[in-house]
């Protein structure tokens, strides 16, 4: 039994030192540190949006057409609305805070589905191998070749036609999460599979097999822990991609409805007023979105360089 | 005057805090047409020395000190343009693994013709003729067909022949061969070695053969140089070194050869491992593994002395010589 229990422990301590190594390296890299701080700030804002927002977005007074299209405070001197108001008189800062929260929620939930599907399929494919593996990886290749955005646009468009516009808006968030979640599982599956392939040749797995440990237990207890750091590496970038995809879909009218705006929906509704001079309605959410995606991409790149250089890229 | 003379060469790896020293104060000379072997375990710095001679050190490696002279011309201060003229033309190289040395997307012919045309003004057809001639020279059958083939269509031994042919294209003065047979099948190794030896002898090319295998050395080289942990520890005529090794490390290497062990006996390994670059021992680098190590070995590295057989850096030899032959100090100054 000794043989069986040592490797995970080793793996554990190795992971701790690797984490420390990452933290030390991060201190030396100002750009990465900066990105991490901003990302942490975004997460905090998303979590605390209802507390931080100057106005309660759910109250009936929040939408007041008398205040519509007010410019930011430094232009009007009106200190009630720091970043101005949108076309329905909503305080832009409050709307952006909630939009950030919504965008991040959709991104994180979609990626959770990706991880769940990808890890499951990747473990099975990698550990069992053979025909099952060949089949699953072909499916993964084919699905990837159609590109997530394309699949999402088509599926959502079809559902919108099927349900009708009004009913679709009720389900928009759920649909977005499911579609973005299901469409990108191959990314995680491939990475996990590559990891399992490398690990399953090692002696302790053989030892476990000979001792009659069940397949499920080998996969979950011995193989799964080894896939953690490659998963972490793609995680941030995947969340960023999901958020961008959500924004694009909302822009096309296939995403979040205007009364429950994510950042993408905010930007797209603001575009209509860009040309009439109300630039702030689209510019502030755009900057918020771009900065968030930018720091996440920086972090993802940085993690890839420092955690493991050989993540299979789609 | 030697064809190639290296004096006090040090190679370092650039690090954030303190640079790591990979080659310590290496000096050697090579005569015209001479065949020299550089022997050592992997990590001894022998390949690094080969790359340093043609200024192809991978970053962060760099030449920190010392001089490399070819025909009395100092190489270490050349511009990259001047280096380009020397590589391939004056000094050709043969790499270890022929499977990854040739560019997979260019035909054999392209890779030969470009080598010729980079150094001489000669039209394509003449270059092609020369290339096919050299392919025939290294005993490749149907050289004209091979010329148009891609590397993946050739076997490993065939590719190494192509690489030898490329080395010969511009009639260089020196060929540096870095473990040229290690990646090949045992049956082909002897053929390639024989070819290499003969071609150098026929064309009067000097050869620097980098290897870890004394078996290879004995077949080819006139002179041998043993390296350990980035330092030369012993050099001399190959026969003398094989028959009467002086340095404990050379003795250890030769003892470790399978044919030195009696049947049924265990192989005689040298205890321990070569020290890593960032953890070099003080004094003689070999002392942690040396059966004869004394206190002074741990403090100050030994100087070279002439033992009557070869030039050695070892206190034990020094002491022995002083005990038996007090006059030997004069020889050591040579």
């Amino acid at each position: 039994m000794n043989v069986l229990h040592r490797p995970p422990v080793e793996g554990g301590s190795e992971r701790v030192t690797r984490l420390r190594h990452v933290l030390v390296a991060m201190r030396g890299d100002k750009l990465a540190l900066f990105a991490l701080l901003i990302f942490a700030f975004y997460c905090l804002v998303a979590l605390l949006a209802p507390l931080l927002a100057p106005y309660d977005v759910n109250s009936t007074e929040f939408m007041n057409l008398e205040n519509a299209e007010l410019a930011p405070a430094w232009q009007t001197g009106d200190t009630r609305f720091l970043l101005g108001t949108d076309t329905q008189g909503r305080d832009l800062l409050s709307v952006i805070l909630h939009g950030t929260r919504l965008s991040l929620t959709i991104g994180v939930c979609a990626v959770l589905i990706q991880v769940f599907l990808g890890v499951g399929i990747g473990l099975l494919s990698g550990y069992i191998g053979g025909r099952l593996d060949a089949f699953l990886m072909r499916v993964a290749d084919i699905q990837l070749s159609f590109s997530t955005m394309m699949v999402a646009i088509v599926v959502l468009a079809v559902f919108q036609t099927l349900f009708g516009h009004a009913a679709y808006q009720q389900l928009a968030m759920l649909m977005l999460i499911i579609v973005l979640g299901v469409a990108e599982w191959p990314i995680f599956a491939r990475t996990v599979r590559a990891c399992v392939f490398a690990e399953k040749e090692k002696e302790y797995i053989d030892a476990a097999r000979i001792l009659g440990v069940s397949k499920a237990r080998i996969m979950l207890r011995h193989l799964l822990p080894n896939t953690v750091s490659p998963i972490l590496v793609i995680l941030t970038i995947q969340i960023a991609n999901a958020i961008v995809a959500e924004a694009a879909l909302s822009f096309l009218g296939l995403g979040m409805p205007p009364n429950q705006p994510s950042l993408g929906a905010l930007i797209s509704s603001g575009f209509n007023y860009l040309f009439s001079g109300a630039w702030w309605i689209s510019v502030f959410p755009s900057v918020t979105l771009i900065l968030m995606i930018f720091v996440m991409n920086l972090l993802g790149d940085w993690l890839r360089d420092h955690l493991n250089p050989q993540v299979t890229r789609g | 005057m030697s064809l190639l003379s290296i004096n006090g060469l040090s190679v370092k790896f650039k690090q954030r805090h303190e640079d790591l020293v990979a080659l310590h104060n290496v000096s050697l000379s090579l005569e015209r047409g001479e065949r020299l072997a550089i022997v050592g375990e992997s990590g001894a710095g022998k390949s690094l020395l080969g790359y340093a001679i043609v200024n192809l050190l991978m970053k962060p490696g760099f030449i920190a000190e010392g001089s490399i002279k070819l025909d009395d011309r100092e190489l270490t201060r050349l511009s990259s343009k001047q280096w380009q003229e020397i590589r391939g033309k004056k000094i050709a190289m043969i790499f270890q693994d022929p499977m990854v040395t040739l560019n997979p997307v260019l035909s054999v012919g392209d890779q030969m013709v470009e080598a010729i045309r980079s150094h001489t003004r000669i039209n394509y057809n003449d270059a092609k003729k020369l290339a096919i001639e050299k392919l025939a020279h290294v005993r490749i059958a149907a050289p004209a067909q091979r010329f148009d083939q891609y590397p993946h269509e050739l076997s490993g031994g065939m590719r190494q022949r192509v690489i030898i042919a490329i080395a010969l294209l511009l009639a260089p003065e020196i060929i540096i061969a870095d473990e040229p047979t290690t990646a090949l099948d045992v049956t082909i190794q002897a053929e390639i070695l024989q070819l290499l030896k003969q071609i150098c002898a026929d064309n009067g090319v000097a050869l620097i053969l980098i290897t870890h295998d004394f078996g290879v050395v004995s077949r080819i080289a006139e002179r041998t140089l043993v390296m350990y942990a980035g330092r030369i520890v012993e050099q001399g005529p190959t026969l003398e070194i094989i028959n009467d090794p002086q340095h404990p490390y050379t003795q250890g290497l030769l003892n470790a050869l399978p044919q030195m062990a009696l049947p049924g006996q265990r192989l005689n390994q040298i205890q321990g491992n070569m020290p890593p670059l960032n953890d070099q021992p003080r004094g003689c680098a070999f002392h942690p593994r040396c059966p004869y190590a004394e206190d002074k070995c741990r403090i100050q590295p030994p100087d070279f002395i002439f033992s009557g057989v070869s030039t050695v850096a070892c206190y034990a030899i020094e002491d022995m010589l002083q005990a038996f032959e007090p006059l030997s100090e004069e020889d050591a100054d040579d």
Binding site: D133, M137, R138, D141, I142, L144, S145, F146, S147, M149, M150, A157, Q160, T161, R190, A240, V244, A247, A248, F251, L252, G264, I267, F271, L274, F275, S282, S286, L289, I290, I293, F294, M296, N297, L298, D301, G314 | V54, Q84, I86, R87, G88, A92, M93, F95, D97, V100, T101, L102, N103, P104, V105, L106, Q111, E114, A115, S118, H119, H152, I163
Partner: protein
Amino acid sequence: MLSFIGRRLLQAMFVLLIISFVSFMIQDKMGDPVRQMVGLSVTLEQREALQQELGLNDPMLIQYGRFLGRAIQGDLGTSYYYKEPTIDVIASRLPATLELSFAALVLVVLLAIPLGVFAAIHPKNILSRAVLLFSTLGLSVPIFIVAVFLMYFFAIEWGLLPSFGRGETTSVFGLWQSGLFNRDGLQHLLLPSLSLAFVLTPIFIRLIRAEMMDVLQSDYIRYAWAKGISAPRIYFIHALKNTMLPVITVGGIQLGTLVAYTILTESIFQWPGMGLLFMDAVTRVDVPLISTYLIFVGVIFVVTNTLVDVVYSLVNPRVRIPGYS
């Protein structure tokens, strides 16, 4: 080799079958051909009779078979809105999308190869770091934001370029309405193709840089240096050729992304291509058009991917196709 191509073709057929089935289901579930033909002013009995006559009461598989049979003859239904065969409607929009994609790809190649190669050759150079940082930034800006702000500044604020549509087109051999041969058409093309290039270029810069850096570490490059080959020849012949092979495969995979991006770009610039047609069809619930677009794009994907795979394996038989073990 032949068996490889055979397997790929078989697989392509299989994928096409799935796509056609999906679009059949869409037409079947969402469209109502009877209402389309006769409107609402018929009795239930008449409807029944018509449904029977059209074979709409047959088992689904038989209907699917009939659908496939018609599809192979090029009949994928009639657009509700345009009252024309859907395949003709889409074909008339194809040149616009192809020209847009082509212009964007030319821009991408012109920008990404020199920048990616430079960043790979001089990884520590301040300019390379800037290129890399900007490509990460470019990757982070959603295409619709790029498109709208380009349009806002160049077309509205400064009035330098037209803001929407395709402008003047000339007919080439009576087959192809092209905007590439006159000033007006090219001016209209500039902003949409710039937007597309803006988001695609960073992807390729990063890809080329990463692949090229790998290649530059390889033994055959070191050997090329040892042969005394000139630096430009090593970078642009020895290294770039090896870099481009994987870049082309990934480029083939990016085709899907390109099509998705053309949908966004065309919607913003009202570019009369397939993407805009599709979004309009979605708004108008033009079911036959939606399902035909699906099949059409599906065919393009499958054909391109199969071609890329096969060509790649022909050019480079020593390399195993990734994921094909």
